[in-house]
Symmetry: none
Subunit: 418 residues, 2 copies
């Protein structure tokens, strides 16, 4: 099955926003064994949209369209969509009810512009938008299915996952692509490549593809195979994973299984704590609350997270977390001594089972010859023990923050499991 992704919106064409919707849709389709053959972005202009819909109908069996469904005048996707199918717009009572209840729930008044969201082309299958007012639309022309969805990422994603992909799977006999991804932390691509070179050379014969997918502080290794029989694919890939694991065991923090979302380090750590009914607290200097925001981005965080302190000044480190003032003179705020005190004291303060403390020079300024930009100390603590480690990351502030967070979470994961 061949697919095309079409993004509609002036803001894409002037480079005002990055087209992350296409990336996400492509990933999802790839996981289902649907091959994306073309991606395009066009402006909110009737002729450009019509031309792209026509071109797509010649290339693809299914076309995913996002954007241009807002209630305002610059959004013309729905009108153009109706024109492409030569169908009139008609009021859909179910959508109208949904839109109305959406506004009532939020204590907001509904106006005519909002009511027009419930107009859909005659003959279209409505895809319910659980998170917004613009309905998705599923229509067929000749042998191609066209699916129009809102450009708001979380509205589109929920629609795809809950309704569009299941419908596609049910209606089509899709070939399978099976993947398994090995998640590693604390080691670079080229080092892994050297370690696993022999193993990697043998993959071609086994018709398994390997991809290195780097992120700050993390390298994911994705093994994939394509074919008819999912059980056979699964056994072929899983066998190779089993051979790979012992080669890089120390770096592996998890696996991304077929059809499941990639488990993040914050999720893995949170699950570990939840299983053990244990809790966490954080003292974050150079990450400035980023680790805390990762942990609390997960639903149910309050079961395992007691809280955190961002002591961004030495005074705060001393007054709120009782770091000995002498430490700043002798070792400095970015030191083993400082993070050990931070970790031990934040744990006591929140009465948690574990804690993380970080202190470093995120940059781009603030570095010295002794303590250059990218130097980070991380400590993890339990009620019995504190462990501190030193790291040297790079020059880029945001990247240093993310690398510190991933490194700290993996350090805690190993510390809990020890």
């Amino acid at each position: 099955m061949k697919a095309e992704i079409l993004t509609i919106g002036d803001e894409i064409l002037i480079g005002q926003i990055t087209n992350t919707n296409s990336v996400w849709i492509a990933q999802q389709l790839n996981l289902c064994g649907i091959r994306v053959v073309h991606m395009a972005s066009v402006a909110d202009e009737e002729s450009a949209i019509l031309e792209s819909l026509n071109a797509a109908s010649k290339r693809a069996d299914v076309v995913f369209i996002t954007g241009g469904l807002g209630p305002t005048k610059d959004d013309i996707t729905k009108k153009t969509f109706a024109e492409f199918f030569d169908a009139e717009l008609e009021m859909n009572t179910e959508v109208l009810e949904h839109v109305t209840s959406f506004f009532i729930k939020r204590n907001r008044e509904i106006n005519d512009v909002n009511r027009q969201q419930a107009l859909v082309p005659k003959g279209c299958t409505v895809i319910r938008n659980a998170n917004g007012t613009a309905p998705g639309m599923w229509m067929k022309k000749n042998n191609t299915v066209f699916i129009s969805m809102p450009g708001v990422p979380y509205e589109m994603k929920a629609m795809m996952t809950d309704l569009v992909l299941p419908k596609l799977r049910t209606e089509n006999d899709l070939p399978n692509i099976y993947h398994k991804t090995v998640l590693t932390q604390g080691v670079g691509e080229s080092v892994i490549a050297e370690i696993i070179e022999k193993w990697e050379d043998d993959l071609a014969v086994k018709k398994i593809k390997l991809a290195y997918l780097p992120q700050p502080g993390i390298v994911r290794l994705r093994l994939s195979a394509e074919g008819k029989d999912l059980t056979e694919l699964k056994s072929r890939v899983d066998t190779e994973v089993k051979t790979l694991v012992p080669l890089i065991e120390n770096y592996i923090y998890g696996f991304e299984n077929y059809g499941e979302e990639m488990p993040t380090l914050e999720k893995i750590v949170s699950e570990l704590l939840r299983e053990r009914k244990q809790t966490l607290s954080l003292a974050e200097s150079c990450t400035g609350g980023y680790i805390s925001s990762l942990i609390t981005s997960l639903s149910g965080a309050s079961e395992i997270f007691k809280g955190g302190i961002v002591p961004y000044t030495n005074t705060a480190k001393h007054e709120l977390l009782q770091v000995d003032e002498k430490t700043f003179e002798t070792a400095g705020a970015v030191s083993k001594e400082c993070v050990e005190q931070l970790a031990a004291n934040v744990l006591k303060k929140f009465d948690s089972d574990f804690s993380i403390a970080v202190s470093g020079i995120a940059g781009p300024s603030g570095g010295t010859p002794d303590k250059p930009v990218g130097l980070v100390w991380i400590a993890v603590a339990s009620r019995k023990k504190v462990l501190a480690m030193k790291f040297q990351f790079g020059d880029h502030r945001q990247r240093n923050i993310v690398m510190t967070a991933n490194t700290a979470l993996n350090l805690l994961r190993k510390f809990i499991l020890r």
Copy 2:
């Protein structure tokens, strides 16, 4: 002048990498007054590339192509490019010298595969690649210019800035596109659309385009005009902005000026504090450190940010920030009383000039009929005054967190300016 951007590479179509090259090129072209009418991504496949080149030649005066120029077998852009122009590949001695010196400089041995990088289609103008071995290629067919560049971002960017754009400017008499974006917070698209309806209806006559660009809690309104005379365009757009501002003044938090980056709320607030030499502290319950991570993502944050506390439990709210225990029984943790105490006490604790406190039900669970998911109380405080407000956001956890952060930062901005 109309442009098209074509990205070639399997890794884009399976969602392995985000197409940031297109975004960057679009931004650069927009700044030069070149209008991007189409963006496409195709696989490393001859027929797909040829089809896209043909389609582009009908739509655009200039086509920017990136990717597929590597020395390995999966990269076929150059071969296909030559075929499209019906031109043979020939060795370019200048490029060969460049490639050779590139390898000598790096103490690496040059092989036949590397030497083939110096092959270019007969009749093409070579664009020197200062940072790599794959040359750029500039060719014309009928009335369309095709420019092929490597997909490695820093190689492509240097080529564009130093050679391609200057050549385009010299050879063409380019029109300008001017825009200005009005940034609003705390109001939905449809409400703005109603308020400014009359003003918006008049824009067409003035040949100004308006786009609504929503983000969680934020709506950006972009006005743009195209023409010859930049001064005239600027005055035309700026005049309309002046008419628009009084209609929605209360919601505007800033402007995105032509050729400048969009100022975020955390940046605007940080600058305000820096100008006044004042400081901030934070008590974040439902945002769990997210506001803190926004503020500290900016370089130089330590000048204005003293720190924050994430009191994720009632015990932490009481012990670390002295919220009266009776408050939890009478009003609850998500209440005016609670956030007022949090804001006042975190300010004292960090001895800062201003503070923000938030407490709410981020969801998806934890809601009650009285206090549904999405209910958030926000307080801002100075040394003299505390102001609390109640908000009802939606069902989506991450979105509620972002909306709370943007709302809180804008509330503080207004509070500082008052």
